[in-house]
Subunit: 217 residues, 4 copies
């Protein structure tokens, strides 16, 4: 939930409500447009969607990269929220992991992929913290599933994050909308590859195991 860009000392006594609102609007608009058009989308269009002038955008974000970083921060934060909500669920640990993965897709986490490449730097402490929080949350979900014998032990948190990002990555120009139906299906298939059958199941035919496995999803 930390969306503040400057984690340093408070210069201005009051950040002025309308400026904060504008800043949030810009990040929200940028997030939408990055999802729809990719990270090369014109900043003017973002400003237009946010309902402000282009120079206002530059008052809040020194350059494109600064805006991208805050969008990344926003997505990391809301995705971590999802992970923590999933962890709070009762019941089968692998089901919780599945629930998180599909929820993360709805956060459009895949739109981050191209932003994490190239000149991306995790210099800022808030970014490092957000990433660490998300990784910790996911690792928690995975570890619970591993302890329950429901997750392959040879799969690391990075494997899941990269695959999740790539499989939910939007195509530029399409707004990603027509892919939605497929995305969840592909995530499901991928998770199927990570899952181990529930322990309580007695050894039986492979066909039976597979049937059980599929039934859990």
């Amino acid at each position: 939930m930390t969306t503040a860009a400057e984690p340093e000392a408070r210069r201005s006594p009051r950040p002025r409500a309308d400026a904060l609102r504008n800043r949030e609007r810009i990040v929200a608009a940028a997030r939408e447009i990055f999802v729809e058009e990719g990270p090369e989308a014109p900043l003017d269009e973002i400003a237009r969607r946010a309902g402000i002038g282009n120079a206002t955008l530059y008052r809040h974000f020194a350059d494109r990269n600064a805006l991208v970083l805050d969008v990344v921060l926003s997505v990391l934060s809301s995705t971590a929220d999802r992970a923590e909500a999933a962890a709070a669920q009762e019941g089968d640990p692998f089901a919780a992991l599945r629930a998180f993965v599909h929820a993360a897709a709805d956060e459009r986490i895949g739109a981050l992929c191209p932003m994490l490449s190239g000149s991306f730097s995790f210099d800022r402490a808030d970014l490092r913290a957000a990433r660490a929080r998300l990784e910790g949350d996911i690792e928690g979900l995975m570890e619970r599933a591993r302890q329950a014998g429901r997750l392959r032990t040879d799969v690391a948190v990075g494997d899941l994050m990269v695959a999740l990002s790539q499989l939910t990555r939007p195509l530029p120009g399409t707004g990603c909308l027509n892919m939605d139906q497929f995305v969840h299906r592909h995530l499901q298939l991928f998770l199927d590859g990570l899952e181990l059958p529930a322990r309580s199941v007695l050894p039986g035919s492979a066909a039976t195991l597979e049937d059980l496995r599929r039934a859990t999803s």
Copy 2:
């Protein structure tokens, strides 16, 4: 479809060997650069890599989209070649499918994703034919694996193609190179989710099944 038997119309008096070579060079250079820099790469850079002037590129391709279409055609064709080579393999049908998937990754098929979006159109007959050929080839591989009881029956050819594309999609700016190690790993995990155990395996513990599964890759 011109079988070169008809000296009739004066359409293309002679394709002129060097012009053909130039055209191929351009497509090859474009394919490389699209993989390295994404589909927004400057056309001048493509011309430079091809060793020709930029205007020559425009003599062969009316605009960026025409070039993209030919690159798509090129990738579809060489990927279909891979699929047919995999189909020619003896042995386990699922192993053949795996072999194809990893080979397709080496064709950088993921670089096509962004090109298929937006203004992309499958108007041209040659494109439709190339896509149909590739889909037919993959469907053949999958059907053989299904018949052998090695592939889940609820997975369609489109599922595999989209997942394959997304998981191998390069990140802009990175040249995709540092991801190579991960790409094959993620493909493997995804295929694990599609695979059914070989029929001949006797019922055993789940751990044993998993070990076998992993051993096949």
Copy 3:
């Protein structure tokens, strides 16, 4: 801050001490920054250096030109102070002129040059007065030197002012600091061209005359 003592006329109810102080701070900051960065320096930077908000700057000065005019006024005034201090010196009148010229360089009078061009206007009475005062002061110094036979009679006050401005004009980006050593040397050479030998010196060899001349500096 409002001591609320005089409810008299509503013209300028009171200049309010802090407002006056702000105005002076702005002019001082502007003068520094104009010297360091030239007359195109961003006004926001001036406001920052003055320790106030940019809008406050605009409350005091309608536009950039109004600020420039007050900086000109400031430099003219402090330079005239220097001229009057030099005039108060005892001794050789040409030495007094020299003292003034070098002192004026320390006032960074050369930074004014670009401000005097272009849209500059001497509309304001206070500016005309300040310029007249400075010209009068310099003319006084020169006339005394002329009367003493120490200054060429074909050199006017304008000659000296322009040359002084140009030779001390700062280079943008350098902060003028690394030129300081040269500036005084060039002023000295220039003044050498204006000087006549002291009357009391008997006719002698040119070399001797030159030695004397140099000894005075």
Copy 4:
């Protein structure tokens, strides 16, 4: 006279006459406009004066600095031409030096000053060569005058170059035109400070010496 920007090997067999003409036009227009408006003048205006599109300017010069460097080169070269012409003169060596200084003013050498500051670098070999050539030419003129006993021996080539630059430095916005009358006068005064009387003159009154001195100019 070397105006080529790339002293390396010849890539293109023919530089194409119209492109060369454009390049020269751009440099000429830039030189004019830098003199009139200073080195911050909009590049679009330069392109307009040169009669070309703005992108053409960027084809020839990667950025503003590259253009500035070529203007510097142009001014250094034509000024060195002037110095060599002055050196070819018969007669009094100091008169030759004077002739050069006034000729250099007509080359607007002072417009270089702001361009030599800040991020300026003499990286390019052609620039170093042009500067060395000019310095050598001026040193030659000065040394001849020193040998003839007509120039103060405590004045170096750098002194003359900086003073010459500063005294002829144009004011932005004015086009420097209204200053022309003064510029030559101030150069004359400055040179008067560097001059020693002709050796043949017998010792006499200072007034007489001065009269002679003035008569030479």
